[in-house]
């Protein structure tokens, strides 16, 4: 397994600084998973900030909030587990 990190973000645009800290912390090969209120960042309005990132969005959290997938790849709970298993470590930004 290559030494990569899964970053998990669960806050929305009210915490814009948090997204910036998370983006600053991304290394090559890392992935970003948006969960809970973090899924608002996957709206196309913000796509420029997330350009070029290996991006995943938790589907039940999108659906709960009346959103459909606009950027990145959607994953279910099983996909969430697969992502954590595919990376050396997980970092929660909350």
């Amino acid at each position: 397994m290559s030494d990569t990190t899964l970053h998990i973000l669960n806050r929305g645009p009210n915490q814009s600084e948090l997204l910036q800290h998370c983006l600053d912390a991304l290394s090559t090969g890392d992935a970003l998973l948006l969960i809970e209120d973090g899924v608002y960042w996957s709206c196309s309005h913000f796509s420029q900030r997330l350009a070029g990132i290996d991006l995943y969005v938790l589907q039940p959290d999108l659906q709960a909030r009346g959103l459909s997938l606009q950027t990145g790849e959607s994953v279910d709970d099983e996909g969430f587990v697969d992502l954590t298993a595919a990376h050396s470590r997980s970092v929660s930004w909350c």
Binding site: P13, E36, Y40, S44, Q59, D61, Q63
Partner: protein, 118 residues
Amino acid sequence: MKHFLIISRQPPYGSAAAREALELALACALFDQPVSLLLLDDACYQLLPEHQPMGIGQKNLGAMQQSLPLYDVDQIYVCQRSLEQRGLEPEALSLKVKTLDPDALRALIKSHEMVINV
């Protein structure tokens, strides 16, 4: 009679804050207190249509929101800048709202005796 203004800043479902703001607005209305609701920042997302929160084990806030006009909570305000920062249009929201610029926001606060941030 005191006029209540409830200010909500949080999106739905991530915490109980959005539900608590709605409950407070309905409680004011039940006691015949005139009440207005102001949605700032991520609270704009509360009014996106077609929530389906069953998958995360939560109750849909939509029914509660749609009951607001029935209880005469029909003064619902949204910050124009918050909408713009999120690429949202007022027409896309599930309730009829009035959008406010900063001047109108100041005037709104001054026109209420009780202002509560939830």
